[in-house]
């Protein structure tokens, strides 16, 4: 066997390991109750902002903490504590993808999130 072939085979093995590694490190998109089964472990949860409930943010007390109520894809609503500064226009957000964990009895603690605002397009037409 040529030394080149050995190198190719070894690197193919490492390549497969890298792909498996992606799945090994990957997280899962779940709903609240699934996340609650493993408290303390981080997941991705897709939520929508419950606009009728309050968003609480007191930057003078803690600039990196705010709470809101988010509904997951099964329709369950939980209070979410986000350990980040509240984005300027969070109130307008619709979809909020959370990265975080269930802690304590019922609370979801998000360490990161991404928001989707309604598109520019829809808004403009409504605003005219």
């Amino acid at each position: 066997m040529k030394s080149k072939h050995i190198v190719v085979l070894v690197l193919i093995a490492v390549g497969i390991a890298a792909i498996l590694g992606t799945y090994g490190d990957a997280s899962t998109t779940v709903n609240y109750s699934e996340a609650a089964e493993q408290p303390g472990k981080s997941f991705h949860v897709k939520t929508t902002l419950v606009k009728s409930k309050e968003i609480n943010y007191k930057p003078e007390i803690d600039p990196e903490k705010f709470t809101f109520y988010g509904m997951d894809e099964t329709g369950e609503v939980r209070k979410v504590t986000v350990l980040k500064e509240k984005p300027f226009d969070f109130e307008r957000a619709e979809e909020i993808k959370l990265i975080g964990r269930v802690e304590g009895a019922n609370e979801f603690v998000a360490t990161d999130f991404q928001t989707k605002c309604p598109s520019k397009y829809e808004n403009e037409v409504q605003d005219i």
Binding site: K4, Y23, E60, P63, L83, F88, S119, Y121, I128
Partner: protein, 870 residues
């Protein structure tokens, strides 16, 4: 259907633009056929026709660009593209940026660059011209078809036209309530469409003017090496294409590299990502083809000298362009969804993009068959698979995957049959062996990035194959299989750590290979020289590492691998410097590769130090963590009250105030170094955008050895100071209270007749409260006035204590015969910003390394172009 003649529209120009699009599509397709035919017949008339078709195509592409620019320049907002991406107030120099804000415009930019490249290729007569032009024009046809905008069925359209009218794209503009309210007829709807929604303000900076064109030029150049490889397969000259393709591949590496670096500098200088690279899918999408192409260039060099590694050359060069298309698919089809900070909209082109991606994957496979009959049989099998998919009415994922896998194996086998097998054992002591290893490791790096970036795509595939993954889960109980079946796999939580786990060891190996490989000769190496050079380089690298460790404040405790990485990068720098001195003896013409490698080494040290020793100096230490929050959660922002100095690392920082200029508000943050007394101000800015909220841009203090990078994360909504009601207080004379941190005493209330004060106040009865405000050492008296005229007209004259930011109003009330003094207070809420500051040490090494890398590429291009001329 009722037909309305709409007023105030400029339809001619849009029709003209659309005509140019159709013309560019047809001429590209026709030209591709003509060049293909000429490849076979070598008939000179066909060549003339093919060239004319290309020229017509070139003119049409310019025509599309000019018409679209005319529409934007003249503010014809009846066109959706102009309405969506420009506005009346947009400065002319940003109008050009409108081209690449929208998807159609970015396809147009790509189309333009490829047309320019075609123009460069068409003037050089050679056996390669016709087959190469045929492939370039095929890709031009594909790109212009993305702009056709022909609706085939209700939910399948072919391309998306930049000349679509707003009312066509969204008929609801004709039903807007405002039309009915103002009594405007539908035909006159343009009366209310007076301005566009404008270019995203985030994109209104000079980076946006230069970064996308460079990146797209880089993408566009990758077609050339691809087209040469195709030409090689097609004309069965399996090796000859590599020589003319090499300079193009190098140009592609240089331009694409410049584009990627510009993105990094842009992100660092004016976006608040908190760094120059975030492993964002869009960044990855441009990095992946670049890595593969660099690997490709290296194997092409091996080939040039030794004639080996040909199959790998084909795979890497063909793979580069296919990965560019894949990147386009990822970023333009909406499949990435919310995994990226870049926002995308799906124009419904995902199926079209996928089909084109497959076309360019399968084209080289078909041409790899030597005999024309076999090529047609393979083409027939593609059609059969396509037909089965169509009959099923959906993508049959497993069948397609199986077909692509079989095609890939067939491709390798075909090449194996055509290319003379190199029977000779390659020496482990040869340059080509280690370059081959290095190229494969670069490919490995790309595979790892593809794998993680493609999670959303894999979800689509694995959930379509739930019939396989569900049973697998039931048998093995491995949770991952269940997630795959449900398509619920998400990006790793700690994404940076995930990439570092793989990319750091890969970078170590690549840096080591970069340092040593040039000391091997092609084919065989004199062991004596090798050992001598190796000993010198190794020794020097160890010394350099030992010197750099204290300089960068790096210790073994920071991580074993980091120190190894520092050593490997030093090794690359020392090795290549020594190579220039010793082997090349300062022959700069030959030094391109070594310069690029030194640049790579410096870049890696810059990356290493600026990320490992990056310090978020705005650590949030003021606030206690709640019970629910563990220490690991990052707390990286601090709150600064206006004019209140706050200690942050070795600085005392003070938020001094803000000024607004155009759409931007600049926040003055004053830094004072408590050790040296040095002080400076940074002006991070932010602008409010209705679509994306607050968009902060950082400001950075540059030193040679470090950068202090600062951006605001949150600011109060209004930029002007406004009074806020504080409360109403019933007081007796002599009473004391605390408002806004100041002591308030109602000292006295006096009555006066207005006449005594001013003739204008004749007949007014005035009640004047005397309020003493004390805060710190200063004390003032405020005198709010309650006035009555004619016994019925009441009014208040407020009094402001500016230094304590309190406003007073006084109203006496009669309660059960007693006079009660009502003091209303309003305060100015304290101004604050929440900001983040990061110290990046030695980031300049990264920029210097980057520049050297690019200089090295340019030197290599010059060398190879010259060689080909001979």
């Amino acid at each position: 259907m009722e037909t309305i003649t709409f007023n105030g529209e400029h339809l001619f120009i849009g029709n003209l633009g659309h005509l140019f699009v159709v013309l560019s599509f047809v001429s590209a397709l026709f030209g591709a056929f003509a060049f293909a035919s000429h490849t076979k017949t070598q008939n000179s008339t066909e060549l003339t026709i093919a060239k004319s078709a290309f020229h017509l195509h070139f003119i049409s592409v310019i025509g599309v660009i000019v018409t679209l620019f005319y529409i934007i320049y003249n503010h014809y907002f009846e066109y959706q593209y102009a309405w969506q991406h420009s506005s009346l107030s947009l400065p002319t120099h940003y109008m050009i940026s409108c081209f690449w804000e929208g998807q159609e415009g970015s396809f147009l930019l790509w189309l333009f660059w490829e047309a320019v490249i075609g123009m460069m290729l068409i003037f050089k007569p050679s056996q390669w011209r016709s087959p190469v032009m045929a492939t370039v024009l095929l890709s031009q046809a594909v790109l212009s078809s993305m702009l056709l905008g022909i609706e085939i069925t209700a939910n399948f359209k072919f391309g998306s036209s930049p000349f679509t009218l707003l009312r066509e794209a969204d008929p609801s503009v004709l039903e807007l309530p405002v039309l009915a309210i103002r009594g405007i007829a539908k035909a006159d709807y343009m009366q209310i469409i007076t301005d566009g929604t404008g270019l995203n303000p985030l994109l209104q900076n000079y980076w946006m003017v230069i970064h996308p064109p460079t990146l797209f030029f880089g993408f566009a150049t990758t077609i050339v090496p691809f087209a040469f490889a195709i030409a090689g397969l097609w004309t069965r000259d399996y090796k000859g294409w590599m020589k003319p393709a090499l300079p193009w591949a190098l140009i592609s590496v240089a331009v694409l590299g410049t584009g990627i670096m510009m993105g990094g500098v842009w992100a660092y200088e004016s976006l608040s990502f908190g760094g120059y690279w975030a492993w964002d899918p869009v960044e990855n999408a441009s990095l992946i083809p670049w890595l593969v192409l660099i690997a490709g260039v290296h194997v092409m060099l091996i080939n040039r000298v030794t004639g080996s590694s040909q199959i790998l050359t084909y795979l890497l060069i063909l793979g580069t362009f296919i990965l560019v298309l894949y990147a386009t698919f990822l970023t333009r089809s909406g499949v990435l969804g919310d995994t990226s900070v870049h926002s995308f909209t799906d124009l419904g082109l995902s199926r079209q993009l996928l089909v084109f991606l497959l076309l360019f994957i399968l084209l080289p496979v078909a041409l790899s068959f030597k005999y024309v009959k076999a090529r047609w049989i393979y083409a027939g099998s593609i059609l059969a698979v396509l037909l089965i998919n169509l009959l099923a009415g959906k993508f049959i994922v497993w069948l397609n995957l199986l077909f692509i896998l079989a095609s890939f194996i067939g491709f390798i086998q075909n090449l194996n049959a055509h290319l003379p097998l190199n029977k000779k054992e390659e020496s482990v002591f040869s340059r080509e062996f280690w370059m081959f290893v290095g190229s494969l490791i670069l490919l490995l790096s790309a595979v790892q990035v593809i794998s993680t970036t493609s999670i959303p795509v894999m979800n689509k595939i694995t959930s379509a194959m739930a019939w396989l993954f569900e049973p697998l889960y039931n048998i093995t109980k491995v949770e991952t299989f269940k997630n795959m079946a449900e398509g619920n796999v998400a990006q790793p939580i700690e994404i940076i750590k995930h990439y570092n786990t793989w990319q750091l060891p890969i970078a170590v190996v690549i840096a080591l290979l970069t340092g040593i490989t040039q000391f091997f000769g092609y084919k065989k190496t004199s062991t004596k020289h090798l050992v001598k050079n190796l000993a010198i380089v190794l020794g020097a690298a160890v010394v350099l590492t030992a010197l750099l460790m204290p300089l960068f404040d790096l210790h073994w405790a920071d991580g074993f691998l980091l120190i190894v990485f520092l050593f490997a990068s030093s090794f690359a720098i020392v090795g290549n410097t020594w190579f220039i001195i010793r082997a090349l003896r300062f022959k700069w013409r030959l030094s391109g590769a070594s310069i690029a490698h030194i640049g790579f080494g410096l870049m890696m040290i810059g990356v290493l130090v600026s990320s490992a020793k990056k310090q978020v100096i705005s650590q949030n230490t003021r606030y206690a963590y709640g019970d629910n929050f563990s220490e690991k959660d990052n707390r990286e922002n601090i709150l600064l009250m206006k004019d209140q100095p706050f200690p942050m690392a070795n600085y005392l920082v003070t938020y001094k105030g803000d000024t607004t200029e155009g759409p931007n508000t600049y926040y003055e943050v004053h830094y004072r170094d408590t050790a040296t007394g040095e002080s400076f101000s940074l002006y991070p800015n932010a602008q409010y955008n209705p679509e994306q909220g607050l968009m902060p841009n950082p400001d950075t203090r540059h030193y040679f050895t470090r950068d202090i990078y600062t951006h605001v994360s949150l600011v109060p909504k209004s930029s002007e100071e406004e009074w806020e009601e504080d409360g109403e207080h019933a007081m007796a004379i002599g009473d004391t209270m605390i408002v806004n941190g100041a002591q308030i005493v109602l000292s006295n209330v006096t009555k006066a007749i207005g006449d005594t004060i001013s003739s204008q106040l004749a007949g007014h009865e005035l009640h004047i409260a005397e309020i003493t405000i004390t805060k710190g050492d200063s004390s003032v008296v405020a005198r709010p006035v309650f006035g009555i005229k004619d016994g019925t007209n009441y009014y208040n004259i407020f009094s402001v204590a500016e230094f304590a930011k309190i406003r007073f109003n006084y109203t006496p009330k009669s309660v059960e015969g007693e006079i009660q003094h009502n003091i209303e207070t309003a305060i100015k809420p304290p101004r604050y910003i929440i900001m983040k500051a990061i110290m990046f040490p030695y980031i300049n090494l990264l920029w210097i390394g980057t520049i050297l890398l690019l200089v090295g590429f340019v030197m290599s291009i010059a060398r190879r172009v010259k060689e080909n001329r001979r």
